[in-house]
Structures are given as structure tokens and as C-alpha cells.
Symmetry: C2
Subunit: 229 residues, 2 copies
DNA sequence: CCTTCTCTCTTACGCTGTAAGACAGACTAT
DNA sequence: ATAGTCTGTCTTACAGCGTAAGAGAGAAGG
């Protein structure tokens, strides 16, 4: 039981969430884990919200945003995506929190600027570069949320899915059943990799052919249409 | 105050969350909203978790997954993405819940099968079709989460961002500052539209050139590498 | 009239986040 | 050495939470 500190508390909180799920995390239980009363934690943190913020920072701070020398932008983006996904999957209990807070928070701003500069140096505008980073980030969070599945702390993902699948193999949903049977619904790493390659290809094409400003894409027109139905 | 029912309760819950945020939603307050004691709700719902599940279903059930006659698959996927994003943005308070539960839930399975069949008819395998749907869905959820920003109920997104931006216009993060100043961080609809077009292009390319099974992509290799560092 | 079903209520328990402030020990200043 | 402040932990207390258990009112059917 090392000396108490904000860091020690966050470490214990991550450990607790990994083991019991975020729903069970309370100030009293976390205090007990550290051999201390609940109110003692309030000497290091203003409130529970700050604890959760810290948890997210703790988990995402391991994401490797720093560009290597000579690294091409597609490799950089791919590495960021893979690194972010790995960080999130390492502590899936924290995922529901991550989804609710900005991923590129204050603590990682220097690294973000570094990544932007790599993109900028190869012809992106500042805005395109940030858009690219945002697209990679939001997709990765969304995808990882879906892979991690049910989160609150009950890990009944498997029995749930099994029951679900065996229930529908009938004639009502032949394609869905076929896709699930062939692993289409569960091979997350592969689907993630495919999508990231797609996005990177698209990002490159967007930079080459135009800025995406001014000329409306098909999807933009669809969005505008939907806004006033 | 129409007669009480599961539907009436869910309606009231959506209204409550839209107004006060999900953090403030409690069985007692929701009961009060309906002129009834908290325990009365338990005649219609087994527990609060079921209420939240119902909330997600309620919000996502308006997503239009049904293929029109003669609609091409890229238009179908684009329409699904746009429709899902609109449904989510209509009730941003529910978003944190959506992110934690499967979006394509049991209630929409018929429509999913219909969408799959459109893709299947134009040369996708069942698995590729489901992957495509999943990619569109997870990206849309991830992106919408990021646009809706801070969710718990405090809508301090603007002051927060303003303070954040004005603080960093200095020389430390010139690219980030330039991108934000030009609206790169906030023009969500445009960035979403761009990314969806990218994904659709990529999905089409994936179908044309190969299945994405067997041949490893760059990203897949990166994922495997990261798994055992 | 009696029973059963449907719906709503009251009461109670253990849990939560946290405000307010008491207290002990260590350091600092006179 | 004495007095004062600072640091870290504790106790107590309060309002609110989800919900288990069961009482009771009113309608429906025999």
C-alpha cells in the first residue's frame, strides 16, 4: 500500500473497474480498496466526476500519437487507430466513460499537434488534418464500443449471443444467420482493419481531388435533405 | 395524462431525458412526471435497466432501414447512416445509453435482413454485407457521440470550447488552433458526410477486388503486431 | 356475495455522493 | 519551548437512489 496520491487512486480505480465493472465503483469501495475512508479521497479529487475523468485520461494516455521520423501519413493514422483500439480494449470497463468524453483531451494536445504537422507537411490543410484525425478517432471509439459489447459489468455477452443466434437460424433471416455463422458478426479485428484501410484510402482521395469544401458530396446532400423532412 | 402503459412511460422518459439529461432521471421523478408513485412503474417494467433498454429501442426504432425498390446499395447505406445519425441527434441525452447497447437490436431484425438482401443481390457475401452494415453503424454511433459532446446534462459545451480555444491560439499548437478557427473541429455534418462517402467507396472497393479474407491488409498486419508487443 | 385479477400505494432497507467539521501529527516562526 | 499553521484522515449526517415486500382499492367474473 504505497503512499496515497491522485495517481495511486486512479491506478486502484482502473484495477477495480477491470475486475468488477464500472457500475460497482463507489467512493466507499474504492477507499476500502486503498485502506482508507471514502472521504479521504476527496482530499485528492474534488468529486466523483473528476475521478471518472481521470480514469479516461489514464486509459487513453497510453495511445501513441507521436510520429516517427520518416513515417508516412497513412502509417501514422493506422498506427494511431490501432494503438487507440488496443488501449481501449485493454480496459473495456472504462469504455462507456470514454464514449462520453472527448478522447483527444488536453493532456495529449502536444502529440495531436505533432500528428497534425505530419499531415500538414504532406499537403493537408490544417482543417483537413484535424478532420482526418477526428474521423479515425470517432470510428475507432464507435467500433471498439461495439466489439466490447455489453459493458456495465455483467459479461453475459457469450450466452446472450449464442441464444440469439440459435434462435434465428430459421428461414426468417437467412442472410443474417449465414453471416453470423461465418463469423461475420464477431471477427472484430479484421473488420476494424478493413474499415481503417477504407478510411485512410478515402482520406487520401479527399486530399487529392478537392478539399471537401464547396463541392457538396452525395452524402452532404442527403444530410441537408434529412434536416428538413 | 393518458392511461399508463409501458409506451406512455417510455415517452415520458424520453421527454424527461431531453429536458433534464439522463443523470437526473430517477424512478421517483419519472413517476412524479406521470402523476404516480415510483413503485407503480415496476408494474410495467422489471427494473430501471429495462427502462433504459426501452429508451434506446424507442430512439433507434425510427431509423429507416427498409430498402426502397430499385435503390442502389450505396444509396441504401448512405440513407441508413443519415437516418441513424438524425435519430441519435434528435435525442442526444440518450446517446450514452446507445453507445453501451447493441444498435441493431432484436426489434429491427427484419429490416436488417432486408438491407442485407439488397447488398447480397449486388454481389456481397452475407458476411461482407453484415460487415458493411456494422461498419456504417459503428462509425455513425462513434461520430455522433463526438458531435454531441459532453452529455451528462450540463450543456456547457460552448463556454468550455471557447475557453479552450482562446487559451491555445498561441504558438504552441498553431495547426490545431488554425484548424479549430476555420471550423474544422465543429463542422460535424460535413465531416460525417465525407467519412460516410469514404466508407462506402471503400466498401465497394473491398467487394470488387477481394473479400478481405485470406489476404491480409496493412492494417491487419498492424493489428497482429500490436497484439503481442 | 365471494373470489380473483389488475393496478397503485406505503413502508422499509441498504446503498450512494458529499457537505461540515473534528482531530492528530508534523512542520515553522517567534 | 510555545504557539500557530498545514496536511492528511477521520466521523457524523443528510438527501437521494433502486427496489423488495406486501397492503389495499376497485373492477370483473363466477
Amino acid at each position: 500500500m504505497a503512499k496515497l496520491s491522485r495517481e495511486a487512486i486512479l491506478d486502484a480505480a482502473v484495477r477495480f473497474v477491470d475486475e468488477h465493472g464500472i457500475a460497482k465503483l463507489s467512493m466507499r469501495k474504492l477507499g476500502a480498496e486503498l485502506g482508507v475512508e471514502a472521504m479521504t479521497l476527496y482530499y485528492y479529487l474534488p468529486n466523483k466526476e473528476a475521478l471518472l475523468d481521470g480514469l479516461v485520461d489514464h486509459v487513453t494516455s497510453s495511445v501513441d500519437l507521436v510520429a516517427r521520423g520518416g513515417e508516412q501519413w497513412p502509417d501514422l493514422l493506422r498506427r494511431i487507430a490501432v494503438s487507440l483500439r488496443a488501449a481501449l480494449l485493454a480496459h473495456p470497463g472504462v469504455l462507456p466513460l470514454v464514449s462520453t468524453r472527448p478522447v483527444l483531451s488536453g493532456s495529449s494536445l502536444d502529440a495531436v499537434e505533432g500528428a497534425l504537422s505530419v499531415l500538414y507537411a504532406t499537403g493537408f490543410t490544417a482543417r483537413q488534418a484535424l478532420d482526418a484525425l477526428n474521423i479515425i478517432g470517432t470510428f475507432t471509439v464507435g467500433h471498439t464500443l461495439a466489439e466490447a459489447g455489453r459493458t456495465p459489468g455483467h459479461e453475459d455477452a457469450d450466452p446472450d449471443l449464442d441464444a440469439f443466434v440459435s434462435e434465428l437460424d430459421g428461414a426468417r433471416h437467412p442472410l443474417f444467420a449465414a453471416a453470423v455463422r461465418s463469423g461475420g458478426g464477431t471477427n472484430h479485428a479484421e473488420r476494424f482493419a478493413l474499415a481503417i484501410d477504407m478510411l485512410i484510402t478515402g482520406i487520401g482521395a479527399g486530399r487529392a481531388t478537392g478539399t471537401g469544401h464547396g463541392r457538396a458530396t452525395n452524402a452532404e446532400r442527403a444530410v441537408s435533405r434529412a434536416r428538413r423532412p
